[in-house]
């Protein structure tokens, strides 16, 4: 198994926003879901997950609330806000453009 790919700077935000768009989710679940959806290619470092979550919260793109979890602990659930949804659209579009550009160069070579 190859090493999990480090995330390109800035893409973590996009992944978190995309994941949180599904519904309220705590940090652990977000990390797990990213791992699953990327078929274990993308591994979110705990070291970057929580600062990113807090940064996005400060920017008002996700909101957080405390709620019960399946193991009966209280967990902090994040969900996408209205401005977050706009940001997600913008970042998705940016990402599409970027990845297309990169792959077209890669294919050419």
């Amino acid at each position: 198994m190859s090493r999990p790919t480090d995330l390109v700077q800035g893409t973590l935000d996009l992944l978190i926003l995309k994941t949180a768009a599904v519904g309220p989710m705590h940090g652990w679940a977000i990390a797990q879901r990213i791992k699953q959806l990327s078929s274990e290619v993308l591994q979110v470092q705990q070291g970057s997950l929580y600062p990113a979550l807090h940064r996005l919260e400060q920017q008002g793109w996700i909101s957080a609330e405390w709620g019960p979890s399946d193991n009966n602990r209280k967990a902090k659930y994040y969900s996408l806000t209205k401005t977050g949804r706009k940001q997600l659209e913008k970042e998705s579009a940016d990402w599409e453009r970027l990845s297309q550009a990169i792959s077209s160069i890669v294919r050419m070579a």
Binding site: P51, Q58, Q59
Partner: protein, 887 residues
Amino acid sequence: MLRLRLRSLFRRSAVERELDAEMEFHIAKQVEENRAAGMSEEEASEAARRQFGGRTQRAEECRDARRLSWVGEILQDVRYAVRGMRRDRMLTLVAALSLAICIGANTTIFSIVNTILLRPLPYPAPARLYWIAEILGRGEEVGTGADYYSLRAENRVFEDVAAFDSTTLNWSGAEKSEEIASAMVSPSFFRVLGERPMLGRTLARDEEGSKAPPVVVASYRFWRNRLGSDMHITGKPIRLQGLEYTVIGVMPQGYDYPRGTDLWQPLPLDESSQLPRSERTPFRILRMVARLKAGVGAAQLDSEMARLTRSIRSEYPPAFETTGFLSRMKIFATPLQRRTTGDVRPALLILSGAVGLVLLIACANLANLLLARAASRQRELAVRLALGSARSRIVRQVLTESVAFALPGGALGALAAYVAVAGLNAWQPSLLQNYPAISLDSDTLAFTLGITVLTGLTFGLAPAGAAAGVSIQEALKGSGHTASGGRRTVRLRQVLIAAELGLSLMLLIAAGLLGRSFLKLAHTELGFRPENLLTFNVNLDTNRYPDGASQLRFFREARERIQQLPGVRTAAVATDIPLSGDGPWSGQDVQVEGHAPIPLGHRPLVDKSVVSPEFFRAMDIPLRKGRLFDPSDGLKKEHVILVNESFAHRILPGEDPVGRAIRTDQPGGGVFLQRIVGVVGDTRGSNLGTPPQPLVYGCDCQAESPFLSRMVVVIRTSGDPHSAIRAAEHAIGLLDRDQPVFNVRTMEERLSLSLAPERFHLILIGTFAAIAVVLAALGVYGVMCYLVAQRTREIGIRIALGARSWDVAGLVMKESALLAVAGLLAGLSGSWALTRYLRSLLHGVATGDTATFATMPVLLLVIAAGAALVPALRAARIDPVAAFRED
């Protein structure tokens, strides 16, 4: 979002707890997964923690993400500063007290400046209100009726122009009659100022001219104090000038233009009486205000005024030019606010400057104290630098700290200003009497906050600079308070002290100049004896007393009745008395009979006063030559006059005035002669500061002028003049109860009133100078104490080697003297440059007055020496053994 940020800032502990819980949850989940993968409880937990990594680091990263950065750092600095202030209680107290005084003084002066000069006039769009005046012939600012009509018709920049004139009305109240300040105004007046009446209406368009109906608009003050706050006053009559006037409206509170006006009545001015202009129609002198159209700029206004000047000048018949009337003619507009505050503006600006200097001194003082403190903290700063703190961060912290030191002083200062303003309003210095009460508003508080922070930053600059220059090696190597970096700091402290002394010297010199000016003024040769002299005014209503004969009859009878009263030595009347505070009653062109004729526009203009024959005896004005008036002069055909000495010296130098005559050519071709029969001593003019002017006295027994309705009654009493007030008022009341007596003052009260502005300036600047000197003395004391403490060892060695205590004390004194002399030199040159701004406040004292410039530095030197004496003596008493043991 903002809420979140604020939460991260201020609810730090809650945020931290949540962060902890969140991570705890994550780890718990990880443990769960690990166990599911088959690890034992212990292994699972161990692995989870390993996988998560350093928790503290994670938390720090989250905090960073929450952008606690600069605001958080400042809060951190503030907390640190507060801790420091708690530790250095004495320093905090000194800073708070000295700043409270200085910021309090600055806030007080600012509140005066704000109330009077800055706050807009209480009318709609006040910035568009302009005062219109013209300069004609002799250069006085006036307006004329003819030009008012021309301006209204021809201008393209004003919404409207209004004409008005101040006067007084005799109001017959229920209990007694009173003199009411009133203004005669054109109907446009209310439109120009633009305020709606509180009750009723203002003047209608056709309520002007000589046929205007007898109606008045009352001020809020008059309505409340004299009309019993009658809500249904409109339409009701009040008795003014012996006639019934109808109150048509009441203006709202604060509507006060011209200032002090209680009743507005129609201006009896008709366009047909003024236009077209001719030499035969007398001008109606009046004043004008106008409202600029919205959107008209200053340049446009200026060019329009120039155009109007040209156009209106061309409307005068050419004959006016022969009097020098037209060539110098200029019509101009001044912002109304500037105009209405013109009298106090220079004084207030000077006071602001002076009080600013005091604040600078306080800044220098505190910078000094903080420098001393910074010196003892050099090691701490060096350690922090060594541990990787950025210098910029440390400088910022020092500045934050100094601002934090300033804040309590600012708060106390605002409080002090509150008290001072209340005191000022109670004291009511005559300088500010005509202005609305001084008030502290949000602008003032913003100003206080602003200067507090600025002060903090200013006095923080020196320690911040010192902190930035801390050398890590030297500070860590050095032992405690002998830290180096010191040499530069010591030099800086000495410069600060010298600056303080220099600034205080400037204030001392200003106070000295004002003091000398005050003394000079207070000891002015008055030209008459002010003791036991009672004065009051009576303005006869011209309905009942329409001509000179009836007016004179009234005053003659009044004089005779008062003369009979017990305690009255001499009673007299005059149109004008010294120290009246008013302009001259009348002026007259002088052409001496037998001298070469002088063209009309170039003849000297002298003041003229009409007096009763007893006037000179009542006032104790000496006769220098010739004779005084005689009651029998009334029977003579030839007009006789007296002149004062200034007249004799200036108009008839080297001649004997007695027997000469002033000649006036009359329009019909006749000649009117006024024969000089005597010369009397000079008296002061309408104010103490105005030197005696050439003056002509006419005798009331000969006057045929219909303008003798306004007279001052002068009573020389044998005892306390106050005791004559009631009887004199009663005597006038018996004669005609509708003619009120007002402005009742003894001559000594007038004298004191005439000195009031000077007293006000002197008290304020004197107080500032005193504060400055105390601060500077404290500064000298503090720095010298510090230097002595720092050099304890060195001084100990000197003493051990045989220096006498006298020499040691001398050393300290010498050092202080050097500082003082440097400061004094700077202060002297500063004063030399700046005292000329005081000129408008000085009377009879040059701005470079040698005596003041010579004595004040000596005074300050003595004070500085006194301040240095304690540390000098302390140095002399240093015990060498103890000094060595100390380290």
